[in-house]
Symmetry: C2
Subunit: 391 residues, 2 copies
Amino acid sequence: MTDDINAFVPGIDVRIEGRAGGPLSGLTFAAKDLFDVAGHPTGGGTLDWARGRPIPTRHAWAVQTLLDAGATLIGKTITDEVSLGILGENPHYGTPLNPRAPDRVPGGSSSGSAAAVAAALCDTALGTDTGGSVRVPASFCGLYGIRPTHGRLPLDGMLPQAPSSDTTGWFARDVATFARVSSAMLGEAIVDAKPSRLVVAVDAFGFADQETATALQPLVKRLAQLAGDTREDVLAPPGLSVWGRAQRTLQPWEAWITFRDWVDRANPRVAFGVARGLAASSMIAESERGWADLMRREARARMAHLLAPGTIVCLPTTPFPAPPKGQSLSALNPVRDRILCLCAHGGLTGVPQVTVPGATVDGLPVGLSIIGARGADAMLVGVARALEDMR
Amino acid sequence: MTDDINAFVPGIDVRIEGRAGGPLSGLTFAAKDLFDVAGHPTGGGTLDWARGRPIPTRHAWAVQTLLDAGATLIGKTITDEVSLGILGENPHYGTPLNPRAPDRVPGGSSSGSAAAVAAALCDTALGTDTGGSVRVPASFCGLYGIRPTHGRLPLDGMLPQAPSSDTTGWFARDVATFARVSSAMLGEAIVDAKPSRLVVAVDAFGFADQETATALQPLVKRLAQLAGDTREDVLAPPGLSVWGRAQRTLQPWEAWITFRDWVDRANPRVAFGVARGLAASSMIAESERGWADLMRREARARMAHLLAPGTIVCLPTTPFPAPPKGQSLSALNPVRDRILCLCAHGGLTGVPQVTVPGATVDGLPVGLSIIGARGADAMLVGVARALEDMR
């Protein structure tokens, strides 16, 4: 399948019809090339992951679930190399086009999935989110996206990165499709939800660019209305950067454990920046990991306390809209650091998060995120739908 | 130009006739893809070095010198990525075949040049030697090879790695061709040379595998005869591993300075091991570099003292014959370390070195090296020829 959007992995021509009469009948979907599709190699966005591995004989759980629900698979999408990237630039297959901002990155690592949905090449698409890989491209491409509660959905047949943070997520352009797909994936009806309490993560808004924080205010106001005109401010103790540091200790170390045998055996071709990151990950000290693990326990306790039933927290999904494509590594380092810092709570605490489109800065999309308690995934989708209905 | 040997860079079809009536008329040569050939990109063994750079409009000095002497250029050869490798495995273009040991690596980084000459696809070939990149593939492929005195030959149009160690070298199958090409490159007649004193680097022989040291003894005996039955033993103070450490501090740091802007701008696709090496190089401490610079000064003084006029030092070119292809990074690390340790004196002190074939271990070639004082390049070539004439 070829396309101007460059969303799909070249050379993989796949179409699998969904089960007739399912709740998603009539919808099409694509799967990030981290998900097994029987009969096709799982490439993981690199030339060397599939080499020497057997072709999968079963679909990944997420693929099978959408097929069983009636959606038709139309392709496998480009990802950052073995999911190690947040911007969506892939040196082997090229960077998928961000249809909403063609001179900008699409966001990653679920870059092709987001691009395919944003360009209306399919109705929904599977991504993975370990450190922001669904949330960030959803924000940059103007889509709905979800990072479900960690541990809720089976990850069978999904190429892992950091198991204690890995999740399967999905994208949609419109909230009705988003709710249909979410219901099928979560195995739960999406009911109209009114939260009883809105908490605004004011430190996260302060961390974002001023233009982005301002652009998101109309969405925040509608959320506050929806929550019965409640609105409280909260600052994440002990601070976003401390949580970010903990996540950026735990996640890369787990990624190194995941990939080190492959790296040693295959000496794979990867972008310099990815290899440098893996090499740095291999040197993370045990003492630092110990500290980060304590911080994770503390963060989970704090988040559970904050997210009482009916409470939602809102924050900017990304600190800014998509940055320009093709920048140097040194220019992108601080950009990447800020994005990951604003996403770190997801992998660190495992709470579900939905990002909703609707705001723009200079015409570039940027998303607002809603977080709920563990297991409140369907409620968050319901809030997103109710928010749209208020327009 | 295609070939079973996989010596040549795919997609570069070049043939440039040498000047008629020159001293090398009738000979063909190939140039490692670090040398500029006008009208063709200089690829440097990677997919991303040439990107965004102008096509060279002039030949490199070494290419022009061979053309002017009458040799005909027939192709550009595969190299380890931007010369950062000693084994000759290239993930983008494949590993050139070692015709003398098809299941073994050819050695690198001048892998394609050595393979092309060993397979008789051309008579001679240009390589570069910073830390062993001519000496090692010559030893592994059973060829004559030279690392000239550092700073003697112009390096214009050659992709640099570590300028204080970079040299241009060449290969040949037979000593007559080796002498003809050497004369043209050095601009000096090759006279029959009898050294007055042979010094055997006994620590280097001890550092090599026992089988290799033993296999080289007949060549050492002939050398001693040639030197009027002189033979002294020497141990390199303060030890090969200390010299190796100094060189492996200075050379990678210079390589990082050479490549860091490219790496930052292009985020190039490279093998994980190469990227990891560059990332580690970027972290070499100034204090360590200061120590290594003192060691280099000391090593140069010691080498100059040892290499009085007429003196040659002999040592194994490599500690063992070519290792098997396709090993894991962790298996290859100690292999690479030992090879580089035995080659470090070249980049560290700048003295010329010629490696001669003729010994084998279990049928696999391994070379004996002769070192002379700075500027004694032609004398070393003459010794190699005299050694052959003694058979």
